[in-house]
Amino acid sequence: MLRIVLNRLALAIPLVFIVTFVAFWLVSIGPTDIAATILQGETTPDVVQALRHELGLDQPLGIQYTNWVVGVFQGNLGKSVLTHESVVDLINQRLGVTISLFIGVLVVVTVFGIGLGVISAVRGGWLGRTIDVLSLGGLVFPSFWLALILIAIFAVQLRWLPATGFIRFDDDPGLWFLCIVLPVTSASVAAITSVAKQTRDSMSDAMSRDFIRSLRASGLSRASIIYKHALRNASLPVVTVLGLVMISAVTTVIYVERIFVLPGVAGLAVDGAMKADLPVLMGCLLVFTLITVGISLLVDLSYAWLNPKVRLS
């Protein structure tokens, strides 16, 4: 188990450095003078120069990056250029929201994706076709549009759920739940369909393998054969897809935080990008890179848990 974690970290740590370095490199080669963009032109060259110095943009790329990395290890991601708040504080305040979204999406996608996939593999027929049609819809409508439609129906028309805003879980779990229902749903739909499709394919594949016939010949119940043996054997590719959709959920979480006005890190990143607030953007980039690394690590660990060949090799 430790070996798997170490293996993943051996890949992940360089990845974190590569991603953040590429971002710094892009800033250094980009045609835009970030300092001037932030100040939006209405200022003197001296002020621009001063901001450039404050951001460290007048230094060589290597120094800039080293300073940033040293700062990261000291728990310091710099200050927002616009509000002068510490980026670490900004992120800390918002991380909870983003993490609850990710966990919500993971749970919903796992339960519904695998559930629907198994049902359509085992039952087929009209249910399978319904899932096909639904999954087409889930893949075709962009999540930001779907989120708006859900708001129009459930918040504006039916008034069942709040359209925007966020209540912390510790303040009121019930309201917290109501607040994240629509965001999680709209962020999950496309992912559910990918997972359901993969589950159906690998379930059909697993059900046609020889050992299933042998289990049937042993007189085991249908439920045990499907849900214990076939599903376990079908699970590896499903977990792979689950990992991929969770990584792409970073994108949908950005839309969703924006549309539902949730105070999360993704929204912070978009704000940072809008205002060219470089330290904020870099901080968010780091957070999301670490989240994707975490997802990959979870995928690796589930491989090991699900497949004895991986665990024991």
């Binding site: 892009l26 214990k228 950005i254």
Partner: protein
């Protein structure tokens, strides 16, 4: 007994004897594009995409109204004769804005697609064709790209390049190239391993020539699939960036921007969500369906037979089958332990029913071992599966009744025989490893079956599992229960399979080529084990085999099958001494046991020449 002792009847040499031998000239399969254009969904998708392109081009030159100028007098109007898609919150004509905004999205998609294609194809070809170090490096690169939080990098790019869509879409294309690299690599790898590529290299053709002439044509199908799917994602990303307000600045119209404008007016004018959203969705759908059709068209090229949704026609006369079954019941010898009458197994592919096993009859007494002997494809395995109601999909029992221990069963009715599985009838399989679930320990699999049939608690079941393993002569059984199937040898796995079949002390054991996949030394041990268990428990055994040695060793009687027809059923002694049917004679002649040193061994094919004139039932 050794491997060479077995009769090599498994070779498919006899298959063509009754089949026409003349080679049928295969018509050249239609090219990928032709197959693609035969699919209605692909054509519909292409028509929509062509329409969108035209829509975008026209939108650059002419629109019904000025897409930007504000007309507050006509704001938030539903579709009408003047404004086909209504007007937005500032009174601008929605159709005009949609037209004018199309080109930005299309160029964005094309930029991303070209980037992804160029990088993906080059890296994939290099990785797949040259392999080795290149391959490792490139695969590592794709692993990194796939694990990136792509959208945040896109945000950075947009900041750095001052919201320049071109830069963002190129970076997006680069990130999308990873999937394309992988697909191109795997196709290239497949082609690379084919013999004609080696031949081309040996004859001195350059790599460039081989790649462009032989590899690239094979890539086109999968590439179109991947590019279509990637384009679908690129549209969502491009419109998403504009939706977030990070792309083309307003008031210039974009698809994504229009959805964002609709979001603002959503409370009192939800209609505005429809035109932008539906246009995006239909275009994504078109790319998605094009990709799916391309995938089908590409795979048809290699598999030929397209999967069709034709429902299985009812080709059987059910009344006639019922009548045969009724008559067969009367013929059952219910006093014998197992009696089967008129077992006919057919395969149907929707259009045609072919007979795999034809009106087979068999009887087995208590404690007796019956061999079913025949070549591959003669229907011997199907026969044993039919007795369990476990025929593979596409095949079924057309007629057949069985009496087991005095009770009569209709073999067409799986529900009635389901309860026999594992309890009254045990079964062991040819591939012992494939018969065990690789994800669970041997112990847990045995315990599950034991608890199912014997209703023991976990602890007692575990003890019984160890006992059973000892019974099938597995040393250190307590250790073996903790192992996974991949951690034991084939012989060991087959013993586990036998132990599993014996859990509920079945009265009939179906053994489907139980020794074929095993080492020679282990074969004899496993056969001994089966024979001993049969004697100890007075258990009847049906032993499916192609090996006369096994028949002579283990069976009391044998049934000879050829292409689903029963040739002969007799005691083993009679079969060996005075085989009645010419096919049996031919099979026996080809037995290496009887080979004379210095003489060529008669093959089944040569021996079968006489069979061509033999009467067939």
């Amino acid at each position: 007994m050794s491997d060479t002792d077995s009769i090599p009847v498994d070779a498919p040499v006899t298959q063509p004897i009754f089949a026409p031998k003349a080679a049928v000239a295969q018509p050249k399969p239609p090219s990928f594009m032709v197959r693609l254009l035969k699919k209605p969904l692909a054509v519909a998708s292409l028509i929509w995409l062509a329409f969108i392109v035209l829509f975008g081009i026209v939108g650059q030159i002419w629109t019904p109204y000025d897409p930007i100028s504000v007309q507050l007098k006509v704001f938030k109007q539903l579709p009408s004769a003047e404004h086909w898609l209504g007007t937005d919150a500032l009174g601008r004509d929605v159709l005009s804005r949609l037209m004018a905004g199309t080109m930005t999205t299309l160029t964005g998609v094309i930029e991303a697609m070209i980037t992804a294609m160029v990088i993906g194809v080059i890296l994939g070809l290099v990785s797949g064709y040259f392999g080795g170090w290149w391959d490792k490096l490139i695969m590592q690169l794709t692993n990194v790209i796939v694990a990136l939080p792509g959208i945040i990098l896109l945000l950075t790019v947009l900041v750095v390049f001052n919201r320049e869509m071109l830069a963002a879409m190129i970076v997006f294309g680069f990130m999308g190239s990873a999937t394309i690299t992988r697909v191109v690599r795997s196709v290239t790898l497949n082609v690379r391993q084919e013999l004609y590529i080696d031949a081309a290299r040996i004859s001195g053709l350059g790599s460039f020539y081989i790649i462009t002439r032989h590899v690239v044509p094979r890539i086109i199908g999968p590439l179109i699939v991947q590019l279509s799917l990637f384009s679908a994602i690129a549209i969502v990303t491009q419109t998403g960036i504009n939706f977030l307000g990070l792309g083309t600045p307003p008031p210039a119209p974009t698809w994504g921007g229009m959805v964002a404008e609709a979001a603002v007016a959503m409370n009192d004018f939800p209609w505005l969500l429809v035109p932008g959203g539906v246009t995006i969705a239909l275009t994504v759908l078109a790319f998605g369906l094009l990709g799916d059709s391309a995938r089908d068209a590409a795979s048809e090229g290699w598999t030929k037979s397209a999967r069709t949704g034709i429902k299985t026609k009812q080709l059987d006369d059910i009344a006639a089958n019922n009548a045969i079954n009724k008559a067969a019941e009367a013929k059952l010898d219910t006093k014998t332990f197992l009696s089967v009458r008129d077992l006919t197994i057919v395969a149907d592919n929707g259009e045609k029913v072919s007979i795999l096993v034809n009106s087979m009859n068999l009887d087995v007494k208590h404690g007796e071992t019956l061999g079913i002997v025949g070549e591959s494809g003669s229907g011997k395995t199907l026969t044993s599966l039919a007795l369990m109601g476990l025929l593979p999909t596409g095949t079924r029992v057309r007629t057949g009744v069985m009496s087991l221990d005095g009770k009569v069963y209709d073999l067409r009715d799986h529900d009635s025989i389901r309860n026999l599985r594992g309890k009254t009838i045990g079964m062991i399989f040819q591939e012992p490893m494939a018969a065990l679930d690789p994800c669970f320990t041997i112990g847990s699999q045995l315990v599950e079956v034991i608890r199912r049939h014997n209703g023991l608690d976990k602890k007692a079941a575990k003890e019984q599992a160890i006992e059973l393993l000892e019974k099938v002569r597995i040393p250190n059984a307590a250790e073996i229960v903790k192992r996974y199937p991949h951690q034991v040898s084939g012989g060991m796995a087959q013993r586990v399979g036998i132990a599993k079949a014996l859990v509920a002390s079945p009265k009939l054991l179906l053994a489907d080529e139980p020794t074929t996949a095993l080492d020679v030394t282990v074969q004899a041990e496993v056969l001994d084990l089966i024979r001993d268990l049969s004697e100890q428990n007075d258990m009847a055994v049906i032993l499916v085999t192609h090996d006369w040695g096994v028949v002579a060793d283990s069976c009391d009687r044998a049934l000879v099958l050829y292409h689903g027809e029963t040739m002969e059923m007799d005691t083993v002694a009679n079969l060996f001494d005075k085989p009645q049917h010419p096919y049996t004679q031919a099979l026996l002649k080809a037995n290496p046991h009887n080979a004379v040193v210095g003489q060529p061994l008669p093959t089944i094919q040569a021996s079968l020449e006489s069979l061509l004139n033999a009467p067939r039932k």
